[in-house]
């Protein structure tokens, strides 16, 4: 394996990693900051893919515009699920949330399976046939670059939302002390509902951005749920920046694993890193010590 092959793998990894980062940051907001254990995160990403797919086949507008609509749809879904299902069980044990979101995930996946069947679909856009060349050894497929650019912008927006806006501050205040927060005039349920919906929308948007470069099928989101948790734990729970970095790292690690050991080991390496971090440094690689 020469130097250029490794460099190519790192670049590919960063491009994938940006989308992982977006999925992971959504969960970092939901699980890391708000402590809502969302086992349906990957399923929501899958819904984002199908929403974009359906809109694309109906309107033929570029998926790089339609992903915004997918984000809006998933925001609404997230908002409704928070008020309809999660709010009634607030204050109960984590296990109840886990089981509930596991159930929601199964309903999403198998609902889509029922409507669209188990077939694989792929969309075709002109951009797919364009490659960018860097020197004579490195080339990247154009859609990945576009997705990367959009993902970086959105990741930055998500960071600013959590750190700088009133709503983001309120969400973090609730995480710090959920009894003091309402005394400070924070409407806990409203803030959590909106933050949850934004986290889900981030997953859905990442799905929309992945559509041009991925096959879609109903179970496509399954592995992303656990991957998103890997990213959040690696990044250090409450850290949105940590999740973004962890997403990039995970992308590169997977890409290098695929290059040297084969594609089939990438997921196993993810989980082994995850278990090592959980057991050796539970505060995450990029996290502060207190978590």
């Amino acid at each position: 394996m020469d130097f250029y092959a490794s460099l190519q793998a790192v670049i590919n990894g960063l491009l994938t990693g940006a989308l992982y980062a977006l999925v992971g940051m959504g969960l970092a907001l939901i699980f890391g900051v708000m402590r809502i254990v969302n086992f349906a995160h990957g399923a929501f990403m899958m819904l984002g893919m199908y929403a974009t797919y359906v809109l694309f086949t109906r309107t033929d507008v570029s998926p790089y515009i339609l992903f915004i609509l997918a984000g809006i749809v998933l925001f609404a879904v997230g908002y409704a699920i928070y008020y309809g299902l999660l709010r009634p069980i607030h204050g109960k044990s984590d296990f109840m949330q886990i089981l509930l979101t596991l159930g929601v995930g199964l309903i999403c996946t198998d609902g889509i399976l029922l409507i669209f069947g188990a077939d694989y679909h792929q969309i075709n856009i002109p951009l797919l046939s364009r490659d960018f060349h860097l020197g004579s050894h490195i080339s990247v497929n154009a859609p990945w670059v576009v997705s990367f650019g959009i993902a970086v912008v959105l990741a930055l927006a998500l960071y600013l939302f959590v750190m700088r806006t009133m709503l983001g501050r309120a969400a973090r205040a609730i995480a710090q002390n959920r009894y003091a927060a309402p005394l400070m005039g924070i409407n806990v349920f409203r803030v959590q509902a909106i933050s949850f919906a934004i986290g889900i929308a981030a997953a859905g948007i990442a799905g929309g951005l992945l559509l041009p470069v991925f096959y879609i099928y109903p179970q496509v989101g399954d592995q992303f749920t656990l991957k998103a948790f890997v990213i959040v734990v690696l990044g250090g729970m409450e850290s949105i920046v940590g999740a973004a970095l962890a997403g990039l790292v995970l992308g590169v690690v997977e890409s290098l694993t695929s290059l040297y050991w084969g594609n089939e080991w990438a997921l196993a390496v993810d989980f082994i890193i995850f278990l090592l971090v959980l057991s050796l440094k539970p505060s995450g690689i990029f996290g502060s010590q207190k978590a």
């Binding site: 069980i89 159930g103 399976l113 029922l114 997921l267």
Partner: protein
């Protein structure tokens, strides 16, 4: 156990054994096999997930260890199938030691995530080492029974359920069972009164893994074939947990009731929804969490307790109102 309970359990057991004399169709016997198998699996899971309150979503690892242990030790090394079943249990126990050793130090969602990750790592390893495990193609599993196969497997599943039930009853009434429940209610308090939480949880997991492995061997041997995406799939882990939670985690009868309800429902919905039959699992999970957080048996028991406690007062109040 009160005498009447013991008698009822024995009666159900004997009746269960007699069923194949009446039911002759293989299709029905296979569904009943599945109901008993998942009842046993739910009971095994319940020791860890119900009594000790440690929600494991990685029990497919032990299930797969049973199925693959039988296939590998008997099919490849050529030792007798029943001895290979014991070797499968050994493999499951080794997995449990490793998984428990790491995961039990974690709490809440981290524990759940660690169990899922371990299960998935095992599935991927089995998938990616075709030289040993057959990879995606899978392995042939030797038959444990050669004559009257469907009846024999049905009886084996009934016996396994009886074993898991007896184990659960014994544990729930022993000091060990109270230790587990103390850990579930408040692990720090349990530690402070001198319960070795780590050791207690690990012992429960070992018992649970051994029973789960036995069920895995039976399952693999009935179909004569194992593939990783079937026996080691996260869907198996989920189904085992759902069976116990639906019936009532931490109750003796819960997993049995859960298996009867879930497996019959899924058999019906398999014909309607075809491949999308997991939909019913999702709906049941949501319903259980929102409306029956104690499960069917737990909710029913709480209702009966309330009625026994307040029934008298309620009746008197009614009597007063009538006067």
């Amino acid at each position: 156990m009160k005498g009447s309970h013991l008698l009822a359990a024995l009666a159900v057991f004997v009746l269960s054994l007699l069923v194949p004399l009446v039911v002759q169709t293989d299709y029905v016997l296979q569904i009943l096999f599945r109901i008993y198998l998942f009842a046993a699996l739910g009971l095994a899971w319940n020791l860890v997930g119900g009594y000790a309150g440690q929600l494991s979503l990685g029990h497919a690892a032990y299930f797969g260890a049973g199925a693959y242990g039988l296939a590998l030790f008997s099919g490849k090394l050529g030792i007798s199938p029943w001895l290979a079943v014991l070797f499968g249990i050994m493999v499951a126990l080794a997995c449990a030691l490793l998984i428990g050793g790491v995961s039990f130090r974690l709490r809440g969602p981290y524990f759940v995530l660690a169990t899922i990750a371990f299960g998935e790592v095992l599935r991927l390893i089995v998938k990616n080492l075709p030289g040993i495990t057959g990879g995606d193609v899978g392995l042939q599993v030797p038959a444990l029974f050669h004559v009257n196969v469907n009846r024999a497997f049905y009886w084996a599943a009934v016996l396994l359920t009886a074993l898991a039930y007896a184990t659960t009853v014994a544990i729930s009434r022993a000091r060990f069972g109270y230790y587990l429940m103390a850990i579930r209610e408040d692990e720090d308090t349990a530690l402070s009164i001198g319960i070795g939480a780590a050791r207690t949880k690990l012992l429960a997991l070992l018992i649970s893994a051994a029973l789960t492995s036995l069920a895995g061997s039976l399952y693999g041997s009935l179909f004569l074939y194992v593939v990783p995406d079937q026996v080691l799939s996260i869907d198996v882990s989920n189904e085992i947990a759902i069976v116990a939670m639906l019936g009532g985690a931490g109750t003796v009868l819960g997993p049995i009731v859960g298996s009867v309800v879930l497996e019959s429902a899924s058999e019906i919905f398999k014909n309607i929804f075809k491949e999308a039959h997991l939909l019913i699992y999702g709906v049941l999970l949501v319903v259980v969490v929102l409306f029956l957080p104690e499960g069917i048996v737990g909710t029913l028991a709480a209702y009966l307790r309330r009625r026994a406690m307040f029934g008298g007062i309620g009746a008197r109040a009614k009597g007063l109102a009538a006067r």
